[in-house]
């Protein structure tokens, strides 16, 4: 399949991503996020959430599952990939217990001087199909000569 055929095609990451309390706490600790919403279930419930609240960029985990589908089709090795841009629009915060599905669409693939600029939009939805996060990534795949 050519890269032109890839553009516009919807790819759903296999399997679901279930958000665990442990992963939310681990991610929060890794970025130094000290909010009790991310570590204390009672605090999260007192704030009106069903469970621990994931930090805003936690969405990169499900988003990259979708992005990986696109990059896999392109055949780009990880170490040649450089992250150019990232955006998240949260329809609601991700919480522990969410079972997420990611559908990725390559919006645009451009070859600039031997480097591929790949723009991918990922739609992250919950178990009831409601949108949780829309993520948009630009990844640069550095050419062999780069």
């Amino acid at each position: 399949m050519g890269l032109d055929d890839l553009v516009g095609q919807e790819l759903t990451a296999p399997g679901e991503y279930e958000v665990s309390r442990g992963k939310v706490r681990e991610f929060a600790a890794a970025i130094g996020e000290a909010s009790p919403l991310c570590s204390d279930v009672e605090a999260a419930r007192a704030a009106g959430y069903t469970d621990l609240v994931a930090p805003a960029t936690f969405a990169v985990i499900p988003a990259f599952l979708g992005l990986g589908e696109v990059m896999g089709r392109i055949g780009a090795p990880l170490q040649r990939q450089v992250h150019g841009e990232q955006g998240f629009i949260h329809h609601r915060p991700i919480v522990a217990g969410d079972v997420l599905t990611t559908t990725a669409t390559a919006e645009r693939i451009r070859n600039v001087g031997g480097n591929l600029f790949v723009t991918v939009s990922c739609r992250v939805s919950d178990a009831s199909g409601e949108p949780v996060t829309t993520a948009r990534s630009v990844v640069v795949v550095r050419g062999e000569g780069a």
């Binding site: 992963k23 681990e26 991610f27 600790a29 890794a30 970025i31 130094g32 996020e33 909010s35 919403l37 991310c38 704030a47 959430y49 609240v53 930090p55 805003a56 960029t57 990169v60 985990i61 990259f64 990880l78 170490q79 040649r80 990939q81 450089v82 992250h83 150019g84 841009e85 990232q86 955006g87 998240f88 629009i89 949260h90 915060p93 948009r136 550095r142 780069a146």
Partner: protein
């Protein structure tokens, strides 16, 4: 308070911790050998780690990580993280603008490392932002 500034130190062990937490195992974030083979000066931080620290700073200013409803950045330069005990500082600053019609407050974020801007066009939207 309509602006903030904060500094976070990033060391090699932070990259390892972030790689595991985020499941981003690109070797340019832990192997000098592979990073240099890719033409980089050495191991660099995940752009997403810089973005996460920036989002954390916005959330701390706004009153919680759940207040950040959107965040978009460009990765304009690299955070090169030396293999020593000191690490490197990333300076995050933000300035709030006027709320939009939905009451969301735009926050323009800058991130600098060794005097270079590592994030560009970084804008978050924040709900229930602190009043000035």
């Amino acid at each position: 308070m309509s602006s903030f500034s904060t500094t976070y130190r990033v060391r090699r062990d932070d990259l390892v911790r972030y790689a595991g937490a985020s499941r981003d195992f690109n070797p340019i974030h832990y192997s000098d050998r592979i990073a240099m083979a890719m033409g980089l000066p050495g191991v660099i931080a995940h752009g997403m780690l810089t973005m996460a620290l920036a989002a954390r700073a916005v959330g701390e200013w706004a009153g919680g990580p759940d207040r950040v409803t959107s965040f978009t950045v460009r990765f304009t330069s690299m955070v090169v993280v030396p293999d020593d005990d000191e690490g490197v500082d990333v300076v995050l600053a933000g300035e709030a603008g006027e709320p939009d019609e939905a009451g969301l407050v735009p926050v323009t974020v800058t991130a600098t490392c060794q005097g270079e801007a590592v994030l560009g066009k970084a804008t978050a939207l924040v709900r229930d932002a602190p009043s000035r």
